[in-house]
Symmetry: C2
Subunit: 402 residues, 2 copies
């Protein structure tokens, strides 16, 4: 029997307990021993809960208990998760987590601590919820040089964008609906401004490059300015709008970015709808590989955490071997990246001004809103585009095309 | 330096050499040592080939060379691959392969031999080409009880079906085109009759159930009877036709089957087009996870083989721990499975006979071919459907709906 502790009995922590209980027999068969939840740490009371008698507020007792070999941290946030994780790793206990904030902020330091103390730090659930992505990246696509990772990494915003696309709803309405049914937080900033996707692509980029990509360095745009008219224009191009996080290596330069993009139906992420996430990995030999699944939710996320618990339980005493050093990678300027752009401007296309600023740009035919029109530019570097765009006196907005 | 041998210098074997050469630096960094191709076994001559001086016809020399630790078998077929693999494993060399025929026919025996001799037998490339599927199934989705695996597992037939769907081409034309551009063999039977997909689902089912599913026991229908009119009828239902292999566990019963199915656009495999493969895994906690990528082709398949070479090189002396015992699993009768069916019959719908045989069936409105019509049945067990279908004197054909 291997003893496990769960830190944080919220949605994901509760899911971990449920997965360990529901699939106890098949998990025990796989590990070769039964996994026993010895403690669940939470500051709240859970009267009547099936795990009531093992719920504790005493973190120190967990650290001090030599019987506890594996701990999953499903508290979220930096405090006190960071401090707790360090103490557990220093005590030689393997830790796994769904906490993307903590992994993005302190991943390499915690990995080094795990290595020093002959234990492991795993975080499959920090990106893509239930989708296996970190382990496949580290253990499957090993023959590849990864040129690009592009993902729909946030289920809340993908749910909202899908609703706007399929039902013609406006942003405020879908946000309210997402909040009402629990897909979005009351303060939705982390999702809708792209901060969540940014931390996830920072983790994937760091693992892919083996150095630390600071999430603060990643240019990040959310979806809060996307309107239903944007979808109407996208429709004229047979495209949808998706919030993408990506990192890309090209000619020795390394880029990362989060922003809404117009995708056409041939893009492998076009058909990833609703709360689903999809992550496209482009390798120099295998071409495109796409991983799709539920990017959030109690049980899918818990399933990924439990896969880490299982790996750690099967490898007690084995030190972490994940390559991610605490050396900052300076990203190259995203203004060097090339895109086409869909630009909305006020006025009338017949004045032809857009084509003077953007030679070769093509107007979008149908009128969506009176007094404005839109056009698509040829491929330009972001820097060149932005300087030209700044000269348009009638600019309304632009969206990048991928 | 770790020495490697390649058996069979055909498309995949050549790809393995190319991947090892092109990505030598990143692979060496990952393994911690350089991988050196010491021998390439082939009965043919390759004058002027960059690897000419290490190409040999002498298999025994490879077995006898204690310096060779890892061998990839990319010969295909059972003879002499089966015999060679046994000799290599008995000599304690780890072997990896893209050979689905061999894995489907002798997988558990070869795994047991690897375990006995303290080495490994891996076969990531035998299913799904470059798509990581076997390793994710064994090492990522470990917290799951897998209820179903459904895949588009053959790139040739998916290419053909996609052409028929998008371009309205007929079977014979797309087959000829697939043959002309090298996607289909001159003798296309293994692909178009579903035999290739059958071996792949047999491997996935065996790994999922941990016992041996004999491929001969899997009911298998190919695509050679699919016509462009079938796609016209499918279009009336807003569906496409895909060749699926699946295994499914339900109420303690276990099923497996290969057949063309009508899929609607909400099915996660609907948008997997052309030579791409897609594999949907349904777990009881994570719900649906889908893996998509190039299911065939020189470099994608070689990439998967090389990921096995890397794993074996990093784990020399570690015995195989894949759970797949040589105990036959008796599949349950596929006639117990429930589907809806699209049925084409001659005559005129106004005679109403179809509704007498299949109460609740719905006619498909538009006329596709003079003198015939089609209808969709309610959900029925396959057994019930087939017995009723046998009573239709005017039956032309049916296709299952998923």
């Amino acid at each position: 029997m291997i003893n496990v502790a769960i830190l944080g009995y919220g949605t994901v922590g509760g899911g971990v307990a449920e997965v360990l209980k529901t699939n106890a027999a098949s998990i025990a068969k796989r590990v070769g021993e039964e996994l026993n939840i010895k403690y669940i740490l939470d500051i709240r009371e859970f009267p009547g809960d099936p795990f009531e008698n093992i719920i504790t507020k005493d973190f120190d007792a967990i650290v001090a208990d030599a019987d506890v070999k594996v701990v999953c941290e499903t508290m979220g946030g930096l405090k006190p998760a960071y401090d707790f994780t360090k103490k557990l790793l220093e005590a030689g206990k393997s830790v796994c987590t769904s906490n993307k904030e903590l992994v993005a902020a302190h991943g390499p330091e915690l990995l080094a601590l795990a290595k020093e103390n002959g234990c492991q730090y795993l975080f499959e659930a920090s990106v893509g919820g239930g989708i296996p992505i970190i382990r496949p990246l580290l253990t499957c696509l090993t023959a590849e040089e990864i040129g690009e990772i592009t993902g729909i990494l946030n289920g809340t915003t993908n749910y909202m964008l899908t609703k706007m696309d399929k039902e013609g709803s406006d942003y405020a309405d879908v946000l309210k609906e997402a909040q009402d049914n629990g897909y979005a937080e009351r303060n939705p900033e982390a999702d809708v401004e792209g901060y969540d996707a940014c931390r996830k692509i920072a983790i994937l980029a760091s693992l892919s490059y083996g150095q630390t990509v600071n999430y603060e360095d990643i240019y990040t745009e959310g979806i809060s300015k996307i309107t239903k008219e944007d979808f109407d224009y996208a429709g004229l191009l047979n495209r949808s709008i998706k919030l993408l996080g990506f990192c890309k290596e090209e000619g020795g330069k390394k880029y990362a970015m989060v922003a809404p993009f117009l995708l056409d139906e041939n893009h492998p992420l076009y058909s990833i709808n609703g709360v689903f996430n999809g992550i496209l990995v482009h390798g120099n030999m295998v071409d495109d590989v796409v991983f799709v699944g539920r990017g959030a939710g109690k049980l899918p996320t818990a399933s990924a955490v439990v896969s880490d618990i299982i790996e750690e339980a099967m490898n007690l005493g084995k030190a972490s071997d994940i390559e991610w050093v605490d050396e900052k990678l300076t990203l190259d300027d995203k203004n060097e990246l090339k895109f086409k752009y869909m630009v909305r401007v006020s006025g009338n296309a017949s004045d032809g001004r857009f084509a003077q600023v953007f030679p070769g740009a093509e107007e979008l035919g149908a009128e969506i809103l009176a007094g404005e029109y839109a056009f698509v530019t040829p491929e330009l570097t972001e820097g060149e585009f932005l300087s030209k765009y700044a000269t348009l006196s009638n600019a309304i907005k632009f969206i990048r095309i991928k």
